[in-house]
Symmetry: C2
Subunit: 134 residues, 2 copies
């Protein structure tokens, strides 16, 4: 069911500093910051040859990564995103197997303009899993 690893998201406190680390110390190709107010984050994409890393900084008062950064003062890996061909079929298969889909189970449009859903970390080895329709 799952296909490519679309991205790994890393939550950071200071996007400029984190971008400088990836651009400088690690010599990676780093995009300009993109504010996504509807997602409560500003994002920077690190383009690797086979996938990408997304650096996320909280944006606004109700950022979904604010609590994570309270618990992880230095930042850290926040979620992992796998691609699926059919998000609704994937959701229904997962729910039938007892996995918890976050929210009301209705896909939302994610940061890449495609439908996404998130799965409960407790059902996936403590890892927040995003599924993105390709």
């Amino acid at each position: 069911m799952i296909g490519r690893l679309n991205h790994v998201a890393i939550a950071v406190r200071d996007l400029d500093a984190a971008s400088a680390t990836y651009r400088g110390a690690l010599g990676a190709q780093v995009s300009e910051p993109q504010p996504l107010p509807e997602h409560g984050v500003t994002v920077v994409f690190i383009n690797l040859p086979n996938t990408k890393i997304e650096l996320l900084e909280p944006l606004g008062a109700d950022s979904p990564i604010a609590k994570f950064l309270e618990r992880n003062a230095d930042g850290g890996m926040h979620h992992i995103c796998y691609e699926v061909d059919d998000l609704i079929a994937a959701r229904d298969k997962l729910k039938a197997g007892g996995a918890r889909v976050l929210g009301d189970g209705t896909p939302k449009i994610g940061a890449h303009g495609k439908p996404v859903l998130f799965l409960h970390p407790k059902d996936f080895n403590g890892t927040l899993v995003e599924l993105e329709q390709t």
Copy 2:
């Protein structure tokens, strides 16, 4: 400097259960468990079209992931591995820039039989970074 994302490693308490989740609920291709006593883990590879996930279960008394699992009872993303062409050059550049390389800075042979080094999470947004020579 960094090239492909070689893998994301997820530490788990129960490798059989985690493998079953990835094979069953997520429909992924999952390898047989490989005990790596010299690394203190048993590993399962989840082969995705563009990269892989490694599930790590502690093996032996001094597993390097034991403390992580004490802090993260459900498991979680443990490290991320980027490929580099020249590990020694990468190490020297990083050290010159003030980044901390774990251990004595001498590459060890990693789980894939290639030289690896780990970088201090505090210098990389709370993320333990492995560099693997390609």
